[in-house]
Each structure stands twice: as structure tokens, then as C-alpha cells.
Symmetry: C2
Subunit: 462 residues, 2 copies
């Protein structure tokens, strides 16, 4: 959300008709191609909708074309997961230039040049973090990085700007959003760090998360996974536990599709609004490789032009962290790809546009714990910008749907205590289970009062 509140640039007019037909053709082609692929674990996932339906929804409901976080949801009818092989790496790497800041200014005679003696850096180079961390963990058994088998210690990091929102009601939604995260994290034994400080003025906006993430990883070696989550993303499945063991050989998990990244170079082929990053040397190196497009001003502007040119569907605006991640994976797949898991079997990030109108249908047909299109783990209000002045969608639509998403998730909490919202649009709650003199004999439907994934065995005293 921080990124949306700061530093917005105006976009040029996109030639919609040409653009739309290009993408439509390409995606229809891809649909045929991937239909021949293997369907990953589980019949269901997130890519259930026809891409055209999504595109149609997107253009029908968006107010105007606004680049920041305008994330049309790219869907394919099937997904292929876990295809992290290197067979395509050679094909792609040589076609795209590696981003080199020093080359930005050579031919342009631009006066403003970064000091070659002081390129941007997130911090002093560390090359032995795995060893430093392992040593510390060994010496600090009271701060283990695993709370149980398949239960890593996780820190969820989120935040917002330190000043009141431009839109008065924006802070109210930030408040509801953090309550929502508090609820999910309490149930799942996850700690939260809510940031309201800009640690590095050069990396303002959506890039602010990079210095923050690095700081958290290095300060807390006991953290096994850092979960970054935007302030405009809400938990809508309180019962879904991340399948941590699925990622035992990976260090970065984002919602996305391999094909959309490596084949299509689509700027929204993945989402950096909600991702998991394993603490370790690999993470530090990734952050260092990710950061160069971030410093605001000339660097970020010029990097934005490269990203627009190289990535499919990307409008013109300054470099954002998500596009930069796509570019990084595309240009350096052989270096990073193997440890990056693009997950689409559940909504680690779920584009709100195609989810919020289906909540009643979900309640009718499904139940919490699925995490996917039937009951999304996360509903992410990309483009809504309730804190800022200008969003990509009509304000009322956004706010109303954010209320519904909040209540959809909140009902799962209230249900534990015998209550529910009168409707998804109502702040009022009603009782659905009577009080009893033997409260411990009553099991809450979802078993969330004392869920297995929260139980921890405490041995001896401290």
C-alpha cells in the first residue's frame, strides 16, 4: 500500500485495441499449448477462468488506465507447477540485457550521473550469512527457526506510511486490514511486524520493502520465512495453512505462473504483494540483485522504460518492484529460477476483481481451508488505493468490496465464538450459537479455537 500512496506518475494513453488483440491472441495460443501439460497436485487451483473473461472484466470495471498496481489477472485454464528446469534458460537470457545502472547514462549525455564510487547498496556485502546464522541458531536453542516439523518460524511483514491517509477513510481500511492479519497470524502462530518508517529515502514507495526485509532477516536469524504482505491484501481463508513442506527446496514463493514469466514475460505473471522468502544467503543475494532498479529519480525512471519495453503488457511508468522481479527471473533464470516457486494452486495472492462477487457462492458451496478459487487464502485489492487520492477503480466499488472481504474473513473468526455478520455488507453481528454452561464441550465448526497448526509443545522451564 505504501507504494501506492507515494510517487505516482501519470501514464500515456495505451493503444488498447492493438494491445488487447495481441494479448488475446498470445494467450489463446498459450492456452492450447499448456492444455497439453501436466496438471499439478490437486484438481483445483487458481487458473480457472478464461483469460478473455478476465480481460473483459478488467476493462469493463476499471476507471481509467493507471499503471501502478494495475494487475489484470492473467489466467490460464490449466497450470503447470514445479517446472523449474533450465531447458529454456539459455533461450531467454541472451535476449534481454542485464540491468546495468552505469550504462543508463553513457550515451545520453545526461548530467545527472550516479557516482560510480557509490552505487546503490542495501548494505555491506555479506557472503557468509548461512554460516553466521547457523552458528547463532546453535548458540541460541531458545530461539529455534522451526517450531515443529513442517512449522517454520514465520514473520509476516507489512506496513503503511507514517502520515494519515489522503482519503480520510483510508486509515479505517488500514485498521481493518491489520486486524484481519492479526487474526490469521494469531491462529497460525505467526508474528507480525508492522512498519511505518521509511528506512531509506532512495527506496521510497513500493521499493521500501527491500531495505526493510533485509533488516528483518539480518536482525532475526530465528526467522525461517519472512512473509511480505501488502496492506491492501486481506486474509479470506482463516483455516488454510501454508504447505510449508512443499517449499523445502525453494527460497522464494510467489503466486504466479511459470509460462507467464518465462515464456510470455508478462509483467503480471507473478505478484510481489504477498510472498514468502526464506532467510539465508540466497535471500540476501536476491535482494541485492533486485534492488538496482529501485533508487528513485533517474535510475528508477530509466529502469521503468526498460521494463516497459521488455515486459509484456506493462504500461509506461517508473520501475516497480514487481516488474523488476519478473525481469530478474527472465534475465537470470539460471541463477534464481531453481529456488523460485511460482505457486498457483492456491491464492497466496488473489486478485480481488474475480473473487469478491463470488463470496456468497463460496459460502453456499464450499468451506474454509481450501485456499484456492473456491475459498481464497488472500484477496488482494490491487489498484484500489483506499489511502491515496486516486485509485484505478471506482472508490465505492473498492470500499464496498473491501468491507465484504473483511467480513468474509471475519465471519470465520466470529464463528469460533458463536457469532457472524448479519450479511457480508453489514458491520453488525448476530448470534448463531447459544451460550452454554459447558463451553468446552462445544466444538467450533472449523476447529480454529485450538488448531493443530498452532499447538506447540513446551518442554521444560526456561
Amino acid at each position: 500500500m505504501l507504494e501506492r500512496c507515494m510517487g505516482t506518475q501519470r501514464v500515456r494513453q495505451i493503444q488498447r485495441a492493438i494491445h488487447q488483440s495481441k494479448v488475446t491472441f498470445l494467450c489463446l495460443f498459450l492456452t492450447v499449448v499448456v492444455l497439453r501439460g501436466t496438471i499439478g497436485a490437486g484438481k483445483f487451483g487458481t487458473p480457472e477462468q478464461d483469460f478473455n473473461d478476465i480481460r473483459e472484466h478488467f476493462y469493463a470495471h476499471r476507471k481509467r488506465v493507471e499503471p501502478h498496481r494495475v494487475l489484470e489477472e492473467v489466467q490460464t485454464t490449466t497450470s503447470t507447477n514445479g517446472d523449474t528446469s533450465n531447458e529454456d534458460s539459455n533461450k531467454n537470457t541472451n535476449n534481454y540485457e542485464q540491468f546495468d545502472v552505469s550504462k543508463l547514462f553513457v550515451d545520453e549525455g545526461v548530467q545527472e550521473k550516479p557516482d560510480p564510487n557509490k552505487p546503490y547498496s542495501l548494505g555491506p556485502k555479506i557472503s557468509d550469512w548461512d554460516q553466521q546464522r547457523a552458528e547463532w541458531l546453535k548458540n541460541n536453542p531458545n530461539f529455534p527457526n522451526f517450531l515443529g516439523p513442517n512449522k517454520p518460524r514465520v514473520l509476516l511483514v507489512t506496513g503503511s506510511a507514517p502520515k494519515p491517509c489522503d482519503n480520510p477513510v483510508g486509515d479505517h481500511y488500514l485498521l481493518k486490514s491489520i486486524k484481519n492479519k492479526i487474526d490469521y497470524c494469531r491462529l497460525h502462530g505467526i508474528e507480525i511486524f508492522y512498519n511505518m518508517a521509511l528506512l531509506d529515502a532512495e527506496m521510497a514507495g513500493f521499493w521500501a520493502k527491500l531495505p526493510l526485509i533485509r533488516k528483518m532477516l539480518l536482525s532475526h536469524p530465528e526467522i525461517e520465512f519472512l512473509w511480505w504482505m501488502d496492506s491492501d491484501a486481506m486474509f479470506t481463508d482463516m483455516a488454510f495453512e501454508i504447505p510449508w513442506e512443499r517449499y523445502k527446496d525453494h527460497n522464494l514463493v510467489m503466486h504466479g505462473w511459470n509460462e507467464m514469466i518465462y515464456d510470455e514475460k508478462n509483467w503480471i505473471g507473478l505478484n510481489t504483494g504477498s510472498f514468502l522468502l526464506r532467510n539465508g544467503q540466497w535471500a540476501l543475494d536476491l535482494l541485492d540483485a533486485w534492488a538496482p532498479m529501485g533508487p528513485k529519480g533517474k535510475i528508477r525512471d530509466e529502469a521503468g522504460k526498460i521494463l516497459t519495453r521488455e515486459l509484456k503488457g506493462r504500461p509506461v511508468f517508473e520501475a516497480d518492484d514487481q516488474s523488476a522481479m519478473v525481469y530478474l527471473l527472465v534475465t537470470q533464470r539460471d541463477k534464481w529460477g531453481e529456488k523460485v516457486y511460482l505457486e498457483n494452486h492456491y491464492y497466496l495472492h488473489g486478485y480481488w476483481g474475480i473473487l469478491v462477487d463470488r463470496y456468497e457462492e463460496m459460502i453456499e458451496n464450499y468451506h474454509p481451508g481450501l485456499g484456492d478459487h473456491r475459498w481464497p487464502l488472500v484477496t488482494h485489492f490491487v489498484g484500489c488505493k483506499p489511502c491515496g487520492k486516486f485509485g484505478d477503480y471506482p472508490v465505492e466499488r473498492c470500499l464496498r468490496q473491501m468491507d465484504r472481504a473483511f467480513n468474509f474473513g471475519d465471519n470465520q473468526i466470529l464463528n469460533m465464538y458463536g457469532f457472524t455478520h448479519r450479511s457480508l455488507g453489514s458491520k453488525k453481528v448476530k448470534r448463531v450459537r447459544n451460550e452454554t454452561s459447558t463451553p468446552l464441550e462445544v466444538k467450533d465448526e472449523l476447529g480454529l479455537l485450538h488448531p493443530a497448526f498452532k499447538a506447540v509443545k513446551v518442554s521444560a522451564s526456561l
Copy 2:
């Protein structure tokens, strides 16, 4: 905060001169008396200021007399702690009527009478909660009520109304307040429940906490202590750990003074904006005894009159939970007093009016971890009501001081990571410790990165 945003009534003019001289005389008398008493553990506490100074400060700075949460801080120059003997119980109990709802209407011929068949109840009577709970804990060793010796499992409960604040900036302060609580609780291994639902329409406003607290205790037998905290209270000592062992024989801990309650019946002799309640039968019984003055309408109004009549210094307005608690302790000391600890050796609740102008002095002379007047655990902005339309103090004074209190606490968090606010009034942060390639060799000043009170030994796998 909820209570301050809802249901405010206008107060009559208090005869200040007479009232002030009465209280001044009584407190001077008490000062002489208690000076002969034993000073409790530790030389410092919270009652350091001359009562007259406080009273003077109070009337000089308050906008107008407003009853809700107008808490002039009653201070004595010494404190006596732990005096929970029953020697005075007989003296007081017979002088005050027990609150009986059915008597409210007998002589008044009021049409609106509560149905004698349906008196207000928080829920079905439970008489064996200790046994039910003990059984459950035995059968659920993975959800222990103690995380270590002297480390009970604690749930901090707070909340606010489900609608946006009347004052647009109010939600921004609710957001900062919950971030503040998230930080303290993360450091101290405490879980948070942020409530935004009105569970019982009869118990709206400040009384809403009672049904909520009961629900939390009964739903979570693993909770040993429930810590209620108002939304306008902030943590200003991130290093202070509650001295849990001090309360091993007590079930309710509130900031207050025995003399102010049992001798003076002062309506602000204790504070219910931040208190600790031990889970158990005693707590359920207390809630049942506390609740009768709460139901809104005739009952609450009439109860308010009784409270104003019986308690010293109380203005005229409907019954509030704090006054009701004072009345309960005064009229039924023999039943409850022994298990109630009125704590004043640190600021479990700290009236903001006498603290916020001293922050720079504190930084100059003291350090976190003291929790008392030198470095208050909690700064509580009673009467400010940033969410509502009308507060008891000038809005700018309140908001500016809330910013300072927030930054005062936030600096202790930022310091862990090598940053601090540029000043107590500034949102911007600056670096105070350089990055290093060996971050784990650097100890944060306060040792809060990995504090002892957070370390938990995890034995075998689940």
C-alpha cells in the same frame, strides 16, 4: 476507546472550589497517615507528585468538565501496596447499598421495568469453571496455560467500533495504537485479539468489554491472564515485563491505590483502561457481579446516579464500568478485595497529562525497563477521544502528544534496528547505527531483539 465514542452524556457544573478544598484536605490527611506505613518493594513507583500539582494541572489544561474518562490523576507521596487485609471491610460494607436492579423502579412508579423473569445476564451461570478448565488443560498439553515459570499465557484484548471514526484522523491514531501494541506484544510473547464487533447491544459503549472478556475466557481455557487495554492507551516502555509472580495470589490487577478506593471511594482511585484478569471461576463471578449496572437505558442511567452519589468526585452521567468497579470493591470488599491487587509501583495505566511533557527528561535521565514514572509502561490518553467528535481536551494538544508518545515507544523498537525518530514530534527516522557485515555481533542496547522473557524452549516435534 469504544466507551468514549459512544453514549456521552452532558455533566452538571461541579462546584470546583468546595470540591477541591475537600479533596485537598483529605489527601493531606492521608499523606500524613500513610507516611507511617511501609513503603513497598522498590523506592520508586507512580505516586511521586504532589496531589495539588496534579489537580492544578488538570484544571488548567482541560477544556471543559466532561465526565467520561475525565481522570484526574490522584497521587499520594507514598504508596502502600499489598494491603489486602480485611480489617476495614466491615466498616465499609454496611454503609453502601448493594446495587439491586429490581429496587430501581419500586418506588418511582416508572413504567419501564425490566422483566423480573429476564434480568440481564452475561450468559448461563457456570459454577465449575475451574474444574472444567483444569480438565481441559490436562487433556490438551499442547496448549499450556504457562509458557514457562513466571510466564503465563496472556491474551491482550482491545478494540474499537466497526465504523469509521467521526473525526477523520481518529482511525490513523487507532492504527498507530494497534501497531504500538503489536510491537510490545511481539516482544513479550503475548497474543492479541482486536475486537470490532458489538456482541451484546445492551452492553454498548464502555460496557462492551464485559461480554467480550467472558467470551474470551471461556473460549480459551489456555489463557491464564486476559489483559484488557483501551485503544487510547499506548505502550511507552517496550522493555518492561509484567512481574507476574507478584500476582500469584491475585486474580485482578488494576492500577490504583487502596486508600483512594477503600477510604476515599474516589471514582478514579483505580483505572479499568488497562487491567489483568486471571482466567477462572473467580473472574466469571466478578464479571457477573460487575455487569448489573451496565444495561443501557434506565438501568444504566439510574445506576449512574447512585455512583455519583456514593463515589467521591464523580460527575453526573450514566454508569460506567470503572465507577461500577470502584463501587463493587467498596461495597463487597470482603468478597473480592483479597484477590484484587491495586498496583501503583509501575504504570499499568499512566495518565498522559503528567507524563507526556517529561519524555525528553526521561530520555535524558533514565532508560526503558522501569515501567514507572521514570519510564512509564503505559501512557493512557484518557479523555482525548481522537475517534469521536468531542474530547475533554483540546484536540491539537491530544494529537500532538499522542504522536510523541507513539514515537517515544517506537524509538525503542527502531533502536533495535539502528534507527530512531528525528525527534519525538517527527515521523521521519534517522540512522543511529551503521549497517555491518556481521549483524549478529551487534547487540541492540536494550537487548530486545532476543529478550529472555520471549525465549521458549520447544521440546520434541508435534
